[in-house]
Subunit: 350 residues, 3 copies
């Protein structure tokens, strides 16, 4: 007697505009997660590495890396949103809220904010606004992503097409800087380099130089740590008869690698404030070596903060291609080496 209790994920016609998805399962984040994050990517940002350093700038202890918080929120949405996704199309309007500390429990829910069936009638685009909150109900991350999802039954009628209005970048007045964060005693000799906000210029490109090769065990450990259940990352037997013949690496793994590589040249980008947009330009597989470079897109003064400034940055990751030549797009198409094009906003001491 075979049972139908297994969850096979939502298909395009299962989503309704305005629908709220309360995601399983809440997750308490611990110092164990932080150590794994360090082992997986080698981050060295002082504020996340040292309780003492964090205290010196007004925080109660070292918060977890903002991108780790992102993964924990993102992972929760996968079973309900993207188990049947054909592609993860984009991110927008990602705003980081209160820092996450070890011991915090994050719960996530998503609201369907857009639906648009594709003209082929086989797939559609689903927009979700996902919000992660800590145990006090404070928002730790609020962002929108959109994915292309298969229809289960092509004969189902298309819903009215609705596309949410999304900003090209999170505006300065919506960037959240923790109130107690006061970098007046920020020690630039302990943080890794001497460059603060005022040292960067719009248009500046920084080759982060170092490369990191990815192993199968590493991306799978990471993706399971985030309780991200997308099958394509884990099942080589199924992959053998798939398009790539390989397990696909979770796009967020590349975001973390690129962010950690960016330390060399941006060691004082001590807080991610926003994810304005992002694209996983090409797939990555175990054995690929990831490099990264940054381009400063905008210098942002933060309201009521003379001590902290923000940079809007394009963080580009490439595979098997060091970045002295800063590859990006040709004729509107990404260079084959580009795997990540992330538009994000980071805070620096001024």
């Amino acid at each position: 007697m075979s049972s139908s209790k297994t969850f096979t994920g939502n298909f395009f016609e299962d989503f309704r505009l305005g629908q709220v998805l309360k995601h399983a399962t809440p997750r308490t984040i611990t110092v164990g997660d932080v150590s794994l994050y360090t082992a997986l990517y080698g981050p060295r940002f002082a504020i996340h590495s040292s309780d003492e350093f964090a205290r010196s700038v007004g925080l109660p202890r070292a918060p977890v890396d903002d991108v780790l918080a992102f993964h924990m929120v993102f992972g929760k949405t996968v079973p309900d949103v993207s188990l049947n996704a054909v592609a993860n199309l984009g991110y927008a309007n990602g705003k980081f809220g209160v820092p996450v500390y070890p011991g915090d429990t994050i719960s996530t829910s998503s609201t369907v904010t857009g639906l648009k069936q594709n003209s082929n009638g086989k797939t559609g685009v689903v927009y979700v606004n996902s919000v992660g909150k800590n145990q006090h109900g404070h928002v730790v991350l609020d962002y929108t992503r959109w994915v292309m999802v298969n229809k289960r039954d092509e004969s189902k009628p298309a819903p009215e097409a609705v596309t949410p209005k999304l900003p090209s970048a999170v505006p300065a007045e919506e960037l959240h800087v923790p109130a107690t964060l006061r970098p007046e005693n920020y020690d630039f000799s302990l943080s890794g380099d001497k460059f603060g906000w005022s040292d960067y210029e719009v248009g500046e490109k920084i080759d982060h130089v170092d490369g990191m090769t990815i192993e199968e065990a590493e991306h799978m450990l990471a993706t399971r740590l985030y309780q991200n259940t997308a099958k394509v990352h884990f099942d080589q037997f199924a992959a053998n008869s798939g398009r790539f013949k390989r397990r696909l690496i979770y796009g967020g793994h590349i975001i973390s690698l690129a962010r950690c590589l960016s330390f060399n040249g941006m060691a004082n980008a001590f807080r991610v404030l926003a994810i304005n947009g992002g694209s996983h330009a090409n797939p990555t597989f175990a054995g690929d070596t990831i490099y990264a470079y940054s381009e400063v897109l905008e210098k942002i003064e933060l309201p009521r903060r003379q001590d902290i400034g923000a940079l809007r940055v394009r963080l580009v990751a490439t595979k098997n291609h060091p970045n002295a030549d800063f590859p990006y797009k040709k004729d509107g198409k990404y260079d084959d080496s580009v795997v990540l094009d992330l538009d994000y906003t980071v805070a620096f001491p001024r």
Copy 2:
């Protein structure tokens, strides 16, 4: 001057009926171990994932996964019991006691409860009853396993054959449910699916669908985490001249994978109460992709608990073979794809 201080493990003739083995080394379990367990297997059971969820059902915080507690107890017994084992023959009468919380220190001892030399005179079967206790002396796990062990000296006389009486399953009155565990506020929207004890039927089979490929680094990280010292898992140089030419994966690694895969279809099996029996039907190696299915064997009412019920379940893991056809035995022999046949009892909210 070469020394003989290296411990080479016990051989069959070293065991005595009634002998008590106090195992080295006690182990404090931490949130670091929990994070690694999450990274290795991707468990999502809400009670282990979230301190807040655990509190909502009457526990002080998130206990560690019961199978992690099993590994920590099992690992301790390896140097004394199975370093010279030819085969791990079976488990029985495994009863989980008080939950294990991060910070607890587990100590383990074993009593030899059976001895039976094989007719070939070269090996014998040793039965041990192993008990893990926390720092308060409370039992966290009590189980019997039996292994086939080499003799060092075949001329040594055979001991009187004694085989312990073991139940085919742990009876309901011996299943331990933590007294404070009260799932009246159990949130089925946060736990991963809606199915409680009353939704399952005897004979029901659930294909857990997802597959997980194993890497060498993963099973070795896991096995060392449990301080399990069996050489066959770690030494490829020695394996090159062995039977399989490969490092063998610790059978418990497959139990954890299967248990975590079972979330998809049994998300509310929130506590392992007993291991009734188990067999590692075929060996597994790095590169294998593990799938799992469950068959409900029995529905058990728990004494004095209207809020929680138990299911006795057969959890089967296969390699490189998705389980739509539920492979098991043919003519009394396991199908080549079957790697684990575990008979265990789990608790659900009713």
Copy 3:
């Protein structure tokens, strides 16, 4: 507009005698790091494994493995000292101070104590004395290492050659035993074997028997955990056009493996007191299987301690070669199988 903010490391002519390097970034060590260390190497020393055991010998809780503390200090020095190193030539006068406990934050600085340009005019040897301190300013490790570093500009004049005076071994009166460490209740049945200080003899050699094969994911996870940024460990794409065509394994990874393998025969070597010297005799790569043996060089009575004695030990690690024949040097050259020759001092209960 390309930027020069990326740090490319110091070259030989950047170092000055007496120069103090305050290393980024301080690091809070947690139980998460301890769990990873356990998963990576499988240590079983009771004092590090169990809070209860540590309390039974007078410590407040389980300290972290001394070699983990070494890696955390060492890792910090890499960006400033050895990013452009051709070779890590040696260690000397390494003294472990107060134990490190989870929650401690370690900061590291180094003083340049020697400089000697090589006759080829292309490289030079830099000696640094590195000191790691906890958040209370107490020294956790103080050691000297020397590395061969490239010159950026060969035309720069050679500095006056200065070589620090270093002892061949840390003398007994400089060995630090924590004052509260009192092994009178040390439980030899829980610690793994029965051999105390008085059971070892000078000249005794112990084959630690077990072998451990290394995977790429493992050594990279370890090296990133220590925030060691040396490129040769991580970048396969660059390695493809290098000398070995492979990622090189961090030498400290082998120290930890050898130390953990030494448990089998030296389970009660419960504290590393000193690193007297060390050489990474041959490179190691993923796929190599590591074995280890120890030779007792000296028995040391510790001043004012009747309860604890020290052994000076040569710990040798080999690759793909079990150690029944104790390979070492032939005609002054290391045997091809030898990868580590570590001269260190460990404490035992007497």
